[in-house]
Symmetry: D2
Subunit: 359 residues, 4 copies
């Protein structure tokens, strides 16, 4: 009800603010008997954490996860898994000038208006730091899915106006991690890097797109009519900070096509029903059809810029602010593991929900 | 859990199939003491029903709503409101050839695979007929919101490659209903009509975009971090049949902008904090900021086409099907009230949820 | 949120008032592929309906169920099952004198105070007529459970101060239905009948106890720590009209015992772990242990009595009311199928939830 | 779904095991702007903690709460409140002999059977240690309720066969805390103490009853038909370790009464509708009526006894166990704050839910 939980059977609740003592997550409903790989969780945390390269914020956070409960002799017990992640490099005084000021295109004003109070340090709970908790939970979801044959790969497909030119099937997604931008095309990756660097020097920020491909998803995930698989994927992605759009399969391009062009024709591949094209993005009628689930997520440019901006304070007076602290000129590289984590959380939840579909 | 409910406080559950005796909806959590305008509900039903013009399916449904419970002397009592809508013009035999056949880009295959059984008549529960129940519930949500000062206007902004050229603020949205396509620009509406007509004669179908503007929304609606207002709007829209994409405010276009271009600057309008631009689409940090909530919804072309298509049957044999029955060459005109209904259901739910935000 | 739904995976939502056009229920989450026995549903309705004997209300209701959706060729499809039950023998004018009067120990005053409006005819939604919808849904739950080997038998174990003297294991529960009171001991049943008859002639009412035994319940149902099996059984029973108490196994008698007396000692019965005694009532730590689940439910005497009673009206004036209409002197006989229905709804829900317990 | 959350608007999720690093709770939905009294939280923890007197377990736990999130400058922010409580005095080796043994009337067997794995140290998650997290969350609920005029007082009304002889209205509940048993009658308290001491020396345990009175509860709390106020109170109480029964108002005694005896007659007290008697226990039709909410909770004797008991191990062999560690001969004194906490959690949740009852 208050919005800090996600999922139905595999259900997470995150807590914590950017500049409190720490953040964390409870997973309730993780099935028992699964042998957790803690290193694999930490690896995902490292992919999200700041300071990986000059392209990202220079805040120093080791983002070391502690598993407080729900694990016994290395295995899940079916009890709630609590994970905590301390905040290490808070510089709260960087934010004291914001106590009474509403930064443009940030959540300061709306939090203040809704709750009558806000923790203004680093954006408090509205900070993207909260997504670290999602990545930790998503890393567990990913492990469970992997064992069930599901792989999730996200990558940066666009930064500013520079985008991939070939369909995702032409790229080797295992190469994504070799690019500091997390773009699988080495040449375009380099162009994106240059653009981000340029933008950073201009003390500005830039948006972009993350695309995500889920393979090995069994047929049958998704609960129509409201909890269609792509509807919950859409909600999951739109709940990530700075996301402004979501599309699956042919997405917005489907508008320009006719039915005869757009329909995915079936064929038989051994015993498996498959489709020649995948405009559907792996979902028919809200239920996975066994093809790749493929979707795109649009991120706006980060609102915090290092330039002076006029804005209003709580008294309604015009003031000038200038970004302090350590911020990302482009969140896209760090958004990749977050998109994967949210996708994993959606898929593992529907995988468990699907167990009740038949007598 | 099984996906047929939507909302938290104002919570609907729909039921019924395309060719059963009827469909309906239960609203649980409608506040007590509200004087319902039944005619206004019927008006919304009429906007969605088939047979309104040659642009839509010629199925004949009066879609007359009966309110079975929750109303006393014209007012809501706080008890569940059950609404039933009989199915009148079923021609189930139009579908008997589909009992064992999976239509391309329809839900036939995935329903069969998930549940091991399906009501194949007219798509059963996967039919867009189910959205009539949403429109009925949404009509009640709309009335409550209207009394609270909120207005919701959707319109067709694109059909195929023909789109509106001016921003929505340049159009008089009260003119939308005068266009058979529900496009507020008379000239472009005419072009869209011609395109749909052409496509219909080609026995094909075409996609498009519905845009929606919500005005008068109070500041404070939305529950971060997962139930961000635009995340739940996105889920609501993506749960509508044939939707492939959702974007809010600047949406996918935000990718090409810098932060300095994209940030919405605040100004004081009397006592009210407002923004000069609205790239945010009326939502900051997942909470409404008092500006227009503005979003776009992409619809793929209808999968049922009147042409012969090869496909597979349950035995895995290749067969040829051809659309029978009465189908829409373009769902966009009828999608407008559905988009409005789902938007209203989201907003009224958050409006009630927001009452618990402060002590 | 508004309280008209019950269950998580197998989730019901009931609607309707005592004197509206009808009542009904939606089941969302009934697994697909189950062959429904409609006659068996009607049989349960007949056990609950009024007019079965002079011991019950003489209201005439056939309580004929119509299944509107979710069924195809006799089998469940996994889609919502909507069931409607028309109200036939409303005599609303029997209630017009109550429009502004609050009957003692009824819900009139609290509904009015909470909602500011109420359907006063026959108690509106607060009437026990709503339980007919529960019995219909519970009848489906029972069928599914029976196929899984679970049997549920409730019976009247006390009326006024007349109670069964032997433990339930001494009775043949299949004889319960031969008693008009639904008490398995023929002699005590006769005494109860006489007492109810006497009370009826005194224009008064009397309370009593229903006991319930569930056998064949698999080990593992229940979700600690909050959704313990007996906690949800308790809630289910306490949600039935007129219920004032619930106890499981040794219940309130456990207070007088020591641990060494109360502990149920394990033994091995073939491959099965069993216990010699069953003070636990079939639940350990909130999870079923394979023994009989055994609980008792206390019902207060019906509040509507055929005697003159002073009470207050909405203006705060003292007035005298006298029961009109057709009421039960003792609800116990008709409560038996309601208790069974609610037990079945709890068990089937946990049975489906349990599928997600392990990887 | 997995059972570790409770409440709808004011929703808690607890985590942690008896012998892990600690336990804790997340509160999601605590309204913003409330000034928290941390000392008052600690005071409730101290009432529940072991080692208060010789009547309770001698385990040493300071149960010091840390508030990790959701608080800013002493006030709630509307964000999730995470509270952690370290485990200090684990002596896990006391339990190593239980790794493969199922203690009688404990959750060992059912946890093992359900999840295929269990943390056997001190009962793991099934330990009553988990209730410390509930008391922490309940202490916050209590503070909010107190400001709204609601007071909650529980007390021990029976131990073994020694019970209070006068109705609760005859006692000064502020004296409860002066009794080591938490019984407001000094003489009976002394008898109970003696009984517990005797039982302890016999290396046995004893059950009893906690009664609870909530005063100042506004009219209108409770959501019929399933979420009746007393149904959710019942569930809350039955979810506490060792509880076997719940009754409200006249409870099981109502069975022996006639309607004319049992009905609570209304009278006007100034502007307020009140009742002369309170057999209803403060709830009519599932909604609070403004009278005292009064209920009783039956606790079985603690299952761990210091005597040798035969039982089965995982291999199905008969073995003898003997309680080690530090256990309570009678949980009743420590159960009092737990009952109060759960009552507060139910009431604050319905108090917030009730805000959506009317337009």
């Amino acid at each position: 009800m208050a919005g800090n939980s996600f999922g139905n059977v595999f259900r997470i609740t995150t807590f914590g603010e950017s500049h409190g003592t720490g953040i964390g997550v409870i997973i309730d409903g993780c099935p028992a008997g699964f042998e957790l790989d803690i290193d694999a969780i930490q690896l995902e945390m490292d992919r999200r954490k700041p300071g990986q390269s000059l392209l990202t914020s220079q805040r120093k956070e080791s983002d070391t996860v502690s598993i407080v409960s729900g694990l016994f002799e290395g295995k899940t017990t079916g009890m709630p898994i609590a994970i905590t992640i301390p905040n290490e490099d808070q510089r709260s005084k960087d934010y004291s000038h914001l106590a009474d000021t509403f930064r443009p295109s940030h959540a300061d004003y709306t939090y203040q208006a809704k709750y009558g109070i806000r923790d203004y340090r680093g954006g408090g709970r509205s900070s993207a730091r909260e997504t670290a908790a999602r990545v930790a939970a998503g890393a567990i979801a990913k492990q469970i899915l992997r064992k069930a044959g599901v792989e999730i790969h996200a990558f940066v497909s666009q930064v500013g106006k520079i985008g991939l030119e070939k369909p995702y099937t032409k790229y080797d997604q295992t190469k994504t991690e070799m690019s500091p931008v997390r773009c699988p095309d080495p040449l375009i990756s380099k162009q994106m890097e240059n653009l981000i660097d340029e933008i950073r020097l201009q003390k500005d920020t830039i948006g972009g797109q993350v695309s995500c491909v889920c393979s090995g998803v069994p047929v049958g995930l998704g609960e129509p009519v409201f909890d269609k698989l792509h509807a919950d994927l859409g909600k999951a992605m739109l709940s990530i900070n700075a996301v402004k759009g979501f599309q699956i399969g042919s997405g917005f391009d489907s508008m320009g096509l006719t039915g005869s062009e757009h329909n995915d024709k079936f064929y038989l591949d051994g015993e498996r029903m498959r489709t020649h094209t995948n405009h559907s993005g792996g979902v028919l009628g809200g239920i996975s059809n066994g093809e790749h689930i493929m979707f795109d997520v649009a991120f706006k440019p980060v609102a915090t810029i290092m330039q002076a901006q006029p804005t209003l304070n709580a008294a309604g007076e015009m003031v000038v602010i200038e970004g302090k602290g350590r911020h990302d000129p482009c969140v896209l590289p760090r958004a990749v593991p977050i998109v994967e984590a949210m996708a994993a959380l959606v898929l593992v939840d529907f995988w468990l929900r699907n167990r009740a579909a038949r007598v």
